[in-house]
């Protein structure tokens, strides 16, 4: 489009003029320059993608635009006019709606109540008007949601639609989507893309944040790449349209890593490039013969849930030595119950859990550990570490009281520290020292600490629950490497993950967990993603489907 090419120089009425423009935004946090003189112009009817890894400054930039944070310097222009955005309310009033990465819906309230929250200053709620407004926006998006449903009961894709409706409540000038696909099935992503097309036709400017390159290329008209707080490159809509996906990918890689003096250490670059390459190329095929005895087997195991989180029902699975068994499923479909039942933290109600052919139902956590079973929890801060204890004690947490670290009830600090130093070096845990409080480490280093503790004692079967959730690319790659190495050395692994790409990269066989049941098994290979997605949706209640 010619308008787009002429860009910001046109008059404010020009449909190609930026709906929102960030000029010279900087934001300093203690120790981190989160945004460094960032410029960003987003036009009407365009999907503008912000691409960058965790910590690149995407979320900070967005929280500035949505009024959650204030910039140290820089201005925000709305339709060419300087705007003061001092609170989320200001942003909403100006028609800037944000769908955050972590749901801001309140599960205990109805859909309509969620939408009415903060909507007006009137004391008595006007349900009729809210209903009408909701119907209006839903029609525009081409979606259908029951306004009286309890929000927590809706499928995640459907909840996201509610969030989009909520973001557009006060107007649809700009819609910000922060990592919107992280919780969706492939089918849910498709539905989201349809909604985006509808919105583009309405002239909404859309900011789409992601760290996945293929996603950025699939949906965006324009891509800005952020790195270490700076906008280091932009790919215009013309460039994207006139090139093949491969060329675009190459351009982005060049933009991200082109300046050789700015790259830093080489291994880092290596993993980053790997990540932006097509993941399919590195799938691991596991040659585990069926005749081999499983080292971990679940036979029709059922276990209770916990609060809102479902339990598991009639789950059967087998893990053989050297095999990674993937467990796919949308978060909250019984993953934790499954992991804890295997680990021994939760009792199976029926069925049997067998290690090396022996039922271990009656054994507790430590007895199962002695048999070689380990569990790397997803609740790293909660049950993973003791925040206020040192890194060294956390590393040896499971050996308290054991020789040679404890003698006659007294701790041998020298032995503990020596062992801890060894593990810190082996697993590359970045910590100021082994006496540092474990809670002060970054998420990635806490995960490395957990891996070091759980994997240091010759494990034979390991259950990983969302092992790379929330970690930066580099640590993610490290963790995946640890899992690969572990199984290459002959241990078995159960990899529970909500990241489909991760499962496709690591696991040979993937089972799908839906509402606590195993609804199918998929051999990794062509179309695996689609087949898993179809199974995840399960009983026809398709999240994001147009009813």
């Amino acid at each position: 489009m010619a308008d787009g090419a002429l860009g910001a120089g046109m008059s404010p009425t020009d449909p190609g003029a930026p709906a929102v423009e960030l000029v010279g935004i900087s934001k300093q946090f203690p120790g981190v320059l989160a945004n460094d003189d960032v410029h960003l112009a987003v036009r009407r009817g365009e999907v503008h993608c912000l691409l960058g890894e965790n910590g690149a400054g995407k979320s900070t930039l967005i929280s500035i635009l949505s009024g959650m944070q204030r910039p140290d310097s820089g201005t925000i222009l709305i339709d060419g006019e300087p705007a003061r955005i001092r609170s989320p309310r200001d942003a909403l009033k100006m028609g800037i709606g944000t769908v955050y990465q972590h749901s801001t819906l309140i599960p205990a309230l109805s859909v309509l109540e969620n939408l009415m929250l903060g909507e007006s200053r009137r004391i008595v709620l006007d349900r009729g008007r809210a209903r009408a407004r909701m119907a209006e926006i839903a029609k525009m998006l081409g979606v259908e949601v029951d306004p009286d449903a309890r929000t927590g009961d809706l499928a995640l894709g459907r909840q996201q639609q509610v969030e989009i409706i909520s973001a557009l409540w006060k107007g649809s000038r700009v819609l910000v989507l922060d990592e919107p696909t992280s919780m969706l099935t492939p089918q849910g992503v498709e539905e989201l893309e349809k909604v985006l097309v509808q919105l583009k036709q309405q002239g909404t400017a859309i900011i789409f944040i992601t760290h996945k390159l293929h996603e950025a290329l699939a949906v965006s008209d324009r891509i800005t790449i952020l790195r270490r707080g700076r906008a280091i490159g932009e790919l215009s809509s013309e460039e994207i349209r006139s090139s093949t996906p491969e060329q675009n990918r190459a351009t982005i890689v060049r933009l991200m890593f082109g300046d050789a003096t700015d790259i830093g250490d080489a291994p880092e670059l290596q993993t980053r490039i790997e990540d932006v390459e097509d993941l399919g190329a590195r799938r691991l095929t596991i040659a585990a013969g069926d005749e081999e005895e499983p080292i971990l087997e679940l036979k029709s195991v059922s276990a209770p849930g916990d609060g809102l989180e479902p339990g598991i029902v009639d789950v059967s699975m087998k893990v053989r030595a050297g095999q990674i068994l993937g467990v796919a499923g949308i978060d909250g479909n019984g993953q934790r119950a499954l992991a804890e039942t295997i680990a021994g933290q939760r009792r199976a109600r029926t069925g049997s859990v067998e290690l090396f052919g022996t039922p271990v139902n009656r054994l507790g956590v430590s007895a199962r550990q002695k048999l070689g079973l380990r569990y790397v929890t997803d609740d790293r801060l909660g049950e993973g570490i003791v925040r206020n204890l040192s890194v060294s004690i956390n590393l040896l947490l499971k050996r308290i009281g054991e020789q040679p670290f404890w003698r006659r009830g007294r701790i041998d600090a020298r032995k503990v520290n020596a062992a801890a130093l060894e593990l810190v070096a082996e697993y590359d845990i970045r910590t100021p020292g082994i006496a540092t409080r474990a809670g002060t480490l970054s998420g990635g280093n806490i995960q490395k600490l957990l891996l070091a503790r759980e994997l240091s004692l010759g494990p034979k079967v390991v259950v990983f629950n969302k092992p790379t959730y929330g970690l930066d690319l580099r640590t993610t790659e490290n963790v995946r490497e640890v899992i690969r190495r572990l199984t290459a050395e002959g241990a078995g692994a159960v990899l529970i993950s909500t990241d489909l790409d991760e499962l496709l990269e690591l696991a040979g066989e993937i089972v799908v967990l839906s509402r606590g049941r195993l609804v199918g098994t998929v051999q990794n290979g062509r179309d695996a993603a689609e087949r898993i997605g179809a199974l995840m949706i399960g009983d026809g209640d398709s999240p994001g489907a147009v009813a």
Binding site: S63, M68, T104, L109, L117
Partner: protein, 318 residues
């Protein structure tokens, strides 16, 4: 054995039941005011352990107001103010500064007990001046229903206010912006913040309302029920109110029902002593607390607490 049975059958005379229900209603009113208040702050995410202290402050200031102005209405007003001032301390320290709600709550209770005792002693010496009895208001027609009429519909005016308050708060929760914002502040404060409503303000107002209502509850004890202020006169009713609000899952109508049940158990102590049954007064006085424990054992599993209860809100904190 037969003596006990005879006593039991002789117990439930019409006048006994009337007195029991009437006493239950009277005893339940301070619990109801206070527990409805606690329901408001609990729903907004503030666990108000200081309720006992706020009640006591309200009882004292309420008594002073009624005593000096010769009006029970002034008494309720000053009671509400006293409770509100005590709650303001909680607002500043716990809601605004994010200090631990339980520690601050305990501090407020201890301070309330101490300060009111000292002030009462300083002001009246060893004397406990009494207030006049205030008139009861009978609802024409309804008060002539056998048994229930006299007990339910011939009460001090403030009793009817209390019932009206329950309905008003229930309506507020479900039909108004304030109610929605309160619930959001307790369920998921970051969502309320993202929607552009101040979590701290919402919680502050809720806490102040709680303090004022606890103050009214306390003032009821001193002005209506006892007619005087004695140190420590709340006798754990503030804690009972916390339990009631939790068991009622923050729903005002259930708060009223639960308050009445505990009110009955409180008045049963008095009623049993009046009938002259030979049970030790100490045992009878334990009844309300036994009832609380029983209720907790039976219903505590189904008690619903908002996820963000007692968690200070700091924007951007994970």
């Amino acid at each position: 054995m037969t003596a006990v049975l005879a006593a039991a059958s002789g117990l439930f005379t019409q006048s006994f039941v009337t007195a029991l229900i009437a006493g239950g209603v009277l005893a339940s009113i301070p619990l109801m005011f206070t527990a409805v208040g606690e329901a408001i702050s609990e729903r907004s995410g503030v666990l108000n352990i200081g309720l006992e202290g706020m009640m006591l402050v309200g009882a004292y200031t309420g008594f002073l107001g009624a005593y000096e102005a010769h009006s029970m209405w002034v008494g309720f007003l000053t009671g509400a103010l006293g409770g509100g001032v005590a709650a303001a301390l909680m607002v500043v320290l716990s809601v605004r500064m994010g200090l631990d709600q339980i520690v601050i709550g305990i501090a407020i209770t201890l301070a309330g007990e101490g300060i009111t005792s000292v002030l009462q002693q300083a002001q009246f010496g060893g004397a406990y001046p009494r207030l006049p009895a205030y008139p009861q208001v009978a609802i024409p027609g309804l008060d002539s229903i056998p048994i229930l009429g006299k007990s339910l519909f011939d009460q001090p005016l403030v009793v009817y206010f209390g019932l009206g308050l329950v309905a008003a708060v229930a309506w507020m929760f479900s039909r108004t912006r304030w109610g929605l914002e309160l619930r959001a502040a307790g369920e998921k404060p970051e969502a309320l913040d993202a929607a552009g409503v101040s979590v701290l303000n919402t919680r502050s107002y809720a806490t102040l309302a709680t303090g004022a209502l606890a103050g009214v509850g306390g003032a009821y004890l001193s002005v209506i029920a006892a007619g005087t202020f004695t140190p420590f006169m709340t006798q754990g009713q503030g804690y009972m109110a916390i339990v009631i609000a939790m068991l009622a899952r923050g729903r005002p109508v259930w708060v009223a029902v639960a308050s009445f049940v505990f009110g009955i158990s409180l008045s049963l102590s008095t009623a049993l002593q009046l009938t002259g049954i030979n049970i030790s007064a100490d045992v009878i006085n334990m009844l309300p607390f036994a009832a609380i424990m029983l209720a907790l054992v039976i219903f505590a599993r189904s008690a619903y607490l908002p996820p963000a209860l007692a968690v200070p809100y700091v924007r951007g904190a994970r």
